[in-house]
């Protein structure tokens, strides 16, 4: 009896030990290409047991789990994979091949025609801070954009002149709605700044053509600005500079924030010190401010209000309207207000639906005395817009939207006044389809109707992208784009049709984390441009009000090549970009006598922008150099219409931003000098009526100097 018991005892112990004996699981985790995924986590589902893959992807662990189990492998950026295994005394061997989830490296992005500055992506051509700190731009969004290929800075007028297009062909959008007057009021021969600070936007997307069906009324380009979300914390800041002072307060609550700011600027004291080419009678002076409110109702619903108001005045000597070769006094008092409210919500299963709705009002009024002539100009645009997007699968989506505008504009010339208005409606659909991760297409269709013109149009758009490697891809874009004719033609002829442009764009880009190369070629055909009939003599005055018969018989083309290279790697601590643009464009429109290259076109343009942060000096040094071949100008004696060219343009600008503390508060001191070398650039010539004499249209000042200090209180 005893021996049996004894044996039984040991048998049971042995059995128990067997039951306790952990079983071994081993194997390998790789991606679909068979490359190891070191650090991948393997777990027996529902238990704590598992192991990590080593540098070669191998793993091995023991578990006390038994029987039929599920083994799961996970790794960052890959879809988790599961396998059924049977756990018993013998070791289990398992191999996992994980599939990558879509990311910036394995998935193509639609990019033809677009430059995007954003912090949301890991690899991007530009960051929002790049726009704010470009030397010579003095924190003007548009001036920074002008260092990108495809745009041409003008020394005598503001605006984005994109790929052979005039400034009126580029439009600016804030949170989806159009901003009627993104620049300060136009002053003859002096380029104006943009109204909005680059620090207000989390994302800036500049399209030099072939843009989405979501936008319209721009023959050449759209600049899409997206306002900041909730700030991290409350703060107060002040600025003091040679041209004015300002202050702002941001208050942050749990789910909302309110920011208020006010500033005053007066360039008088600066102009007294820095020599000017212009006889200022009243140096630019302005007072403005803004209120911005953001409320995050839930994690998936945000409501924003963005507003600004500014009034300013300016006075200077300009060419006389009535006697073209003499000068007279120009004064302008401007008031501008802008209000934008937007609401964004995502809802439904997996937040597959997104609604973006907005309403905005742009108001702008100029009261101008030009010698003895009184001019008034007033524009007001009220608009509403809604876009509904539905995500399809992991990547693809479709959207549909509509917008409605009421646009009132008025022009006064002494006692005469024109007050037309337009009701503009548009609707659009667009799909973003990922055929594979390497091939994406974005077809879209936009329909527009203008009550003033009494006409409608249908604009198809298409963008394609094909990925050729982890960093490289080809892109293609095509589209029809329509725009209402310039206001001064609508004043005299409301029977005109839309002006039209057709874009063809092909691009190739290699965007690495620290190096970017991009090349783009394009062909753009202009149709239905407004033409003045029976023009006997060309009048180069941009401010004249045409009065004769007009029709849509004008046309033109632009073709060219844009190159962009950015390098943050080759020279330690130095970040630079080089852009080059070649454009060949001619058009017959407005009061042109023959097909010719317009005066705002330089055939070759080069921009170099560089920045370097010197830690020991806590200073960031920025430099930019712009060079362009001469532009056409009108010489009444030259046999060829607009056949002569000005000398080449060159401008070297330097800036230094010194970061420091003032009484414990974070402070930035900015010194910037535009056109350091004082080069006397010429943008064109004005001829006397008999054509015997001419004056050069030059820069407002040999140099522009800015010294300022920005303090953030903690």
């Amino acid at each position: 009896m005893r021996p049996i018991l004894f044996i039984l005892h040991f048998l049971l112990i042995a059995l128990g030990a067997l039951a306790q004996q952990p079983s071994t699981v081993r194997g390998r985790v790789t991606n679909k290409a068979g490359e190891p995924l070191p650090g991948a986590n393997v777990v027996v589902k529902g238990s704590y047991d598992g192991g990590s893959a080593n540098a070669e992807g191998w793993f091995s662990f023991t578990t006390t789990e038994r029987g039929e189990q599920v083994l799961m492998a996970t790794f960052v950026g890959h879809r988790p994979a599961e396998q059924r295994i049977s756990l018993n005394a013998s070791p289990a061997e398992v191999e996992f091949g994980l599939e990558e989830t879509p990311n910036e490296l394995n998935t193509v992005t639609i990019s033809a025609g677009a430059f995007e500055a954003s912090d949301a992506k890991k690899i991007t051509i530009l960051r929002p801070l790049d726009i704010a700190t470009t030397a010579g731009a003095n924190a003007d969004i548009f001036a920074a954009i002008q260092t990108l290929p495809g745009t041409q800075a003008q020394g005598d007028q503001e605006g984005l002149f994109v790929r052979g297009g005039a400034a009126s062909e580029a439009r600016t959008m804030i949170d989806g709605t159009l901003v009627q007057n993104p620049f300060f009021s136009n002053t003859p021969d002096v380029p104006a700044r943009g109204r909005f600070s680059p620090f207000l936007f989390k994302g800036t997307s500049f399209s030099s053509g072939g843009y989405s069906a979501q936008y319209g009324q721009a023959l050449s380009s759209v600049l899409v600005l997206n306002t900041n979300d909730l700030p991290d914390s409350s703060q107060t800041s002040f600025s003091l500079s040679a041209v004015g002072l300002g202050g702002s307060r941001t208050q942050r609550w749990a789910r909302s924030s309110l920011a208020a700011e006010v500033d005053y600027s007066n360039l008088g004291p600066l102009f007294a010190v820095v020599p000017q080419n212009i006889a200022w009678q009243k140096a630019p002076e302005s007072l403005g401010g803004g209120l911005r409110f953001t409320h995050q109702l839930t994690n998936n619903q945000t409501f924003k209000v963005f507003s600004s108001y500014r009034q300013g005045s300016i006075g200077l000597a300009v060419p006389d309207l009535l006697q073209p070769f003499s000068q007279t006094l120009f004064r302008n008092r401007n008031r501008n207000a802008y209000l934008n409210t937007s609401y964004r919500a995502s809802f439904g299963a997996a937040q597959a639906w997104t609604l973006q709705a907005g309403a905005s009002v742009s108001y702008d009024r100029d009261e101008i005395d030009w010698g003895s002539v009184r001019l008034g100009r007033h524009e007001q645009r009220v608009q509403g817009r809604a876009v509904l997007t539905r995500a399809l699968g992991e990547q693809s989506s479709v959207l549909a939207g509509a917008e409605l505008h009421r646009y009132d504009f008025e022009s006064q010339f002494n006692e005469w006044a024109y007050r037309p208005h337009d009701t503009y409606a548009a609707t659009f659909v667009e799909a973003e389809v990922y055929v594979t991760r390497k091939l994406a297409a974005r077809p879209g269709l936009r329909a527009e109707h203008s009550a003033l013109l009494g006409r409608a149009n249908l604009a198809p758009r298409l963008s394609l992208a094909y990925k050729t490697g982890p960093y490289s891809q080809f892109g293609f874009a095509f589209g029809h784009f329509y725009q209402n004719p310039d206001n001064r033609y609508l004043f005299i002829n409301s029977g005109l049709d839309f002006e039209k442009a057709i874009h063809w764009i092909a691009n190739f880009q290699v965007v690495r984390p620290k190096r970017t190369f991009r090349a783009e070629v394009y062909q753009k055909n202009y149709r239905q441009l407004v033409r003045e009939l029976n023009v006997a003599q060309f009048d180069p005055n941009r401010y004249r009000q045409p009065s004769g018969p007009t029709d849509n018989s004008g046309s033109g083309y632009a073709r060219g090549l844009d190159l962009f290279w950015r390098d943050q790697q080759s020279i330690k601590g130095l970040d630079y970009w080089v852009s080059y643009a070649w454009v060949d464009t001619r058009r017959l429109y407005q009061n042109f006598l023959a097909q010719a290259t317009p005066t705002f076109i330089a055939e070759h343009t080069v921009n170099v922008v560089a920045r370097k942060y010197v830690t020991s000096l806590s200073t960031s040094f920025n430099a930019s150099w712009a060079w362009a071949t001469g532009r056409p100008y009108y010489n009444p004696h030259h046999p060829e219409f607009l056949g002569e060219r000005t000398p080449a343009f060159s401008n070297l600008s330097l800036a230094a931003n010194y970061l420091t503390r003032l009484g414990g508060h974070f402070t930035v001191v900015v010194l910037s000098v535009t056109n350091v070398l004082g080069r006397d650039n010429v943008f064109g010539y004005r001829y006397s009526p008999d054509g015997t004499q001419r004056t050069a249209i030059g820069q407002a000042a040999p140099r522009f100097v800015f010294l300022g200090m920005f303090i953030t209180l903690k």
């Binding site: 039984l8 306790q20 238990s47 960051r127 914390s233 806590s618």
Partner: protein, 219 residues
């Protein structure tokens, strides 16, 4: 009879360890074991292994915040200890996943706020050029939140000191600004006891090194 008694004895003796593994204890045992391994970790590789171990527990126990916390903590250490950029990115992305999860599980927890601040410091160090604008506010906000929730948390002052330590003197940082914060942290550590052996208690080793470095610079 005797045989049956003996059999019972043997069976009970065999069954005891099985009965002892009730679910709650299984969690404590697994966490205790994982923490012991984590405390031995000195290299990126071992930290990342521990991070995975905590991750396995966190996945099986989705309502528990401690395994998520320790997983994030280990991934962060893994980030700081490796020079492999791919591994750094992986570790930061993983930390982010668990930090997000912790924000849902424990929105008003001082330890989570400290770890979140430290996570943003890691993000900042990974992109020094644009990092301050993007993460600076988030770091200070979370440090303030931690101190507000629990002024006695020594790690809040440690991370605040770290923030000052790596901020250039011209921006109001530097070792001399950091030292008093580290000293405060040291005082708080002297009075600190973790609510349980599974709760966060790290920092003294790191703190001693920072204090040494600051004092060396002062002399």
């Amino acid at each position: 009879m005797k045989t049956i008694a003996l059999c019972l004895f043997v069976l009970v003796g065999f069954a005891r360890p099985v009965l002892a593994q009730a679910p709650a204890d299984k969690f404590t045992a697994a966490m205790t074991q994982a923490l012991a391994t984590c405390r031995q970790a000195r290299t990126a590789e071992t930290f990342l292994e521990s991070a995975n171990q905590f991750e396995r527990i966190a996945t099986a126990e989705p309502d528990q915040w401690l395994p998520a916390y320790w997983s994030a903590y280990c991934f962060l250490n893994g980030f700081y200890l490796t020079k492999d950029e791919k591994l750094q990115e992986m570790a930061l992305d993983k930390t982010e996943t668990w930090i997000d999860k912790l924000a849902d599980l424990q929105p008003e927890n001082d330890e989570v706020a400290v770890l979140t601040a430290w996570y943003y410091q890691a993000r900042l160090s990974a992109s020094p050029a644009t990092g301050w604008m993007r993460f600076g506010g988030k770091i200070t906000k979370n440090i303030e939140k931690a101190k507000q929730l629990n002024p006695e948390n020594p790690r809040a002052y440690l991370v605040e000191g770290q923030n000052a330590y790596y901020t250039p003197t011209t921006f109001g940082g530097g070792k001399q600004v950091a030292l008093p914060l580290f000293k405060t942290s040291q005082e708080k550590f002297a009075k600190f006891t973790a609510p349980s052996p599974l709760h966060p208690d790290w920092g003294q080793f790191l703190l001693a090194r920072y204090i040494k470095s600051c004092e060396a610079a002062a002399n």
